[in-house]
């Protein structure tokens, strides 16, 4: 059937059949709605900034960005930008969109990054000037988050499905539960470089089914290859696997009660974890042990010497426990979820590690929805989580040490010192100072242990050999790899 459609859409047309790991929810302006939603945003929408195939920040709707001073950004828009519904994109649209995302009342996930905006001024039709209250080295990264798209004013509410963008592809049809079709949007500013004429997305929730669809030739490309299938997929002839270290896993603590209120106990946990085991157990070795806090190699704060805050040292862990007053350990609970097998396996590995130092943790593995509620309400002692920053700047770590309780941070944990240091790093324009602040923050993290990190995991796309130009973006950006579909082409 797909072939038939391709033929119908004209000769020389390139149609990519993409097996997507979930059905995208109806996009809501500003909301962070998950991996597949991000993929849709990268295709349908555009913001002022974007990432190129190497993961470098590039101007998108903005032709250029000038920063006359540390708090001023002047964006010059590309000419003749039009939305997919035919209306022109104006500087006012830019202002309205960004202002909307900067307002916490709108439920925007970008609020943290945009809250420093003091003013947004459209100058005529071409330029928009944004002034911040303080310097923010991650500001442009926030604008490159796919959801920071510039959209028609009519989409700036939580009711209208946010399907109209200025991106390279346009939604043409959608069938609930089955898939959707995107067609090349000729009004896109870079349309001449876009090779694909259309992308047929089919939803494959089950990882095995997704893999099989690729292997049997039902689709050309899939996202989120299950770790169990990495080897099978890379071994398959004519199939290419593109993996990048992505999110990180960690143990979070409930600080409000019990032994984990004591930093020594948390530190003991951090030393007790056999991270090599976790990588094997949960990701069939397709990940890396993580002894500290993830940071992008490209970030000025990156310091190869400070990547290890803890190591695997059960003896030390026991000693720390004894110092904390638990020489014989104690019993506790470990919250995970059964909905994501990798989290459950991670939890099982952690459970065994804890047992080795005398902490007897009973596993609680409800479904994801319940897991979130429990996490949010502090209804746990220990929990395992996976997370990724929406930006690569180390300030992604802020919500884990300060701010309101969320399901995935240590419950009631709050360390203003660490928060301050990270914030300092964000505010400075001096790379050296940023690195110093981050180093200092790391020292505090090492002993106060807001979370005990465990592993990073690889996120992989896989595609037929005929698919070229696609690139899985490194690190957290892997979730924004849809950006590189702009450069992708396909030969049958």
């Amino acid at each position: 059937s797909n072939e038939a459609q391709t033929a119908a859409s004209g000769t020389g047309a390139q149609a990519l059949r993409f097996g997507l790991s979930a059905e995208p929810v109806a996009p809501v302006a500003g909301a962070l709605q998950g991996t597949v939603a991000n993929t849709m945003y990268t295709l349908i929408h555009r913001g002022l900034m974007a990432y190129d195939s190497s993961g470098a920040l590039i101007p998108a709707l903005a032709e250029s960005v000038k920063t006359p001073d540390a708090v001023t950004y002047v964006f010059t828009l590309r000419p003749n930008l039009t939305f997919q519904d035919g209306t022109p994109l104006t500087a006012t649209n830019v202002k309205n969109s960004i202002a909307y995302y900067a307002d916490p009342a709108n439920g925007s996930g970008l609020y943290a990054g945009l809250k420093d905006i003091a003013s947004i001024t459209p100058d005529g039709d071409k330029t928009v000037t944004i002034v911040l209250t303080a310097p923010n080295s991650a500001f442009l990264q926030f604008l490159a988050v796919p959801t920071a798209a510039i959209i028609p004013d009519s989409s700036l509410n939580s009711k209208t499905p946010n399907w109209v963008g200025v991106g390279p592809f346009k939604l043409t049809s959608q069938e609930s539960g089955r898939g959707l079709v995107l067609q090349k949007f000729d009004g896109y500013y870079g349309a001449s470089d876009v090779k694909l004429s259309r992308i047929d997305f089919a939803y494959y929730t089950d990882g095995e089914a997704r893999t099989n669809a690729l292997l049997s030739g039902d689709v050309d490309m899939i996202d989120y290859v299950p770790w169990e299938n990495f080897d099978r997929v890379s071994a398959a002839p004519g199939i290419k696997l593109d993996a990048q270290a992505g999110p990180f896993q960690y143990v979070q603590f409930n600080i409000s009660r019990g032994p984990f209120a004591n930093p020594k106990v948390r530190e003991a946990v951090a030393y007790a974890l056999n991270r090599n085991n976790s990588v094997k157990a949960a990701f069939q070795n397709h990940g890396k042990p993580l002894y500290g806090i993830v940071i992008s190699e490209n970030d000025p704060a990156y310091n190869a010497d400070r990547l290890k805050l803890w190591d695997y040292n059960p003896a030390k862990a026991k000693q720390l426990l004894a110092e904390a007053g638990f020489p014989t350990g104690f019993a506790t609970t470990l919250l995970a979820t059964s909905q994501y097998a990798f989290l459950q396996d991670t939890a099982l590995a952690v459970q065994q590690d804890l047992k080795a130092i005398g902490i007897d943790a009973t596993l609680d593995a409800p479904d994801w929805a319940t897991r979130l509620t429990k996490g949010r309400n502090g209804d746990y002692d220990l929990a395992v989580s996976g997370d990724a920053g929406i930006i690569t700047d180390p300030s992604y770590f802020l919500p884990l040490v300060t701010g309101p309780n969320t399901p995935q941070r240590s419950f009631d944990y709050n360390n203003p010192h660490i928060a301050r240091l990270i914030d300092d790093g964000l505010r400075t324009t001096d790379p050296v100072a940023k690195r110093a602040a981050w180093d200092q923050a790391q020292s505090l993290i090492a002993s106060d242990v807001p979370i005990a990190t465990l592993t990073t995991r690889d996120q992989a796309y896989a595609f037929r050999q005929g698919v070229t130009g696609f690139k899985n973006l490194p690190g957290f950006l892997t979730f924004y790899s849809g950006y590189s579909l702009v450069n992708t082409s396909i030969t049958k």
Binding site: K280, A281, Q344, A347, A349, Q352, T362, L363, D367, T370
Partner: protein, 280 residues
């Protein structure tokens, strides 16, 4: 029950099957003595070891745990849950179906409609979620959930049979000879309506193991790392193409056990049918 009917029902095949079940029971009881390793001990470096290597007789699972030991301990959990749930649902369902079919009218509406139809129409996953929320996960909750889920099947089967059997003349005869209603229902109608129930029993054991597997998969079942066959199958299915033994070994045991219960169910049916004389 004459011993001869038992003797007749015992074909060599069935004797082998009974032997298997006895072994199973022995393993259940003696798991701590027989198991070669701690069923919970992980050795991730040995993960997915294939059978008969490195001292893993049946191989190791994704966390490097000894599959044989997990199977042995898992038998306890599994059979407790599967048999418990099946028995509970059978007793419950049969009584409901019998009441509904025998009395008809309001009793039928209350039993077959208000209880059975409503349970059937209620999505199992929500029921399971609810039960786990209210009682916490674990074998007890599983038995309750599956007992409730399977009872309607037994009820409907018994109901259908009861409708027919209660019109038989020997039932009238029992009534005429003063059998109390309870006696008529349970001693006269039920034995003559129960052949499908017996067959269904073994099928339900199978369904229970499968459902346990499914629920474990959804985190509504046995709490990991406690081994249960169902959860082993569920976990193992992820490795179907890469390390099939993780699935095939517990899967095989499940199949064998279900086969055994099926064969025993058939044997029991044959024994309970006085007209069944044939030797297989």
């Amino acid at each position: 029950m004459s011993s001869s009917r038992w003797a007749r029902a015992l074909t060599p095949f069935r004797i082998v099957v009974i032997g298997y079940v006895l072994i199973l029971v022995a393993v259940m009881i003696l798991a701590p003595v027989l198991a070669p390793a701690d069923p919970l001990a992980q050795n991730v470096t040995k993960r997915l070891t294939v059978p008969l290597t490195d001292g893993y007789i049946l191989g190791a699972d994704e966390l490097g745990r000894d599959i044989l030991s997990r199977l042995m301990y898992g038998a306890r959990v599994e059979l407790f849950i599967a048999l418990g749930a099946t028995l509970a649902s059978m007793v419950l369902g049969t009584i409901i179906g019998l009441l509904g079919g025998y009395f008809g009218g309001l009793v039928e509406t209350l039993t077959m409609r208000v209880i059975v139809d409503v349970i059937l129409a209620f999505p199992p996953i929500i029921l399971a979620l609810l039960a786990v929320t209210l009682y916490g996960p674990g074998p007890g909750t599983l038995i309750v959930v599956m007992g409730v889920l399977f009872a309607p099947t037994f009820a409907r089967i018994t109901y259908g049979q009861t409708l027919s059997v209660k019109r038989e003349e020997y039932v009238e005869a029992a009534i005429a000879f003063g059998a109390k209603t309870v006696t008529t229902m349970f001693r006269v109608v039920l034995p003559n309506a129960s052949a499908p129930t017996i067959v269904r029993f073994s099928l339900t054991v199978a369904a229970a193991i499968l459902l346990e597997s499914g629920l474990s998969y959804l985190g509504l079942g046995v709490v990991p790392p406690t081994p249960s066959w169902g959860s082993m199958v569920a976990q193992g299915s992820r490795y179907l193409s890469s390390s099939p033994h993780v699935l095939l070994v517990p899967g095989g045991v499940v199949v064998l056990t279900i086969l055994a219960f099926g064969v025993l169910g058939d044997a029991l049916r044959d024994v309970l049918d006085p007209k069944e004389k044939r030797r297989s």
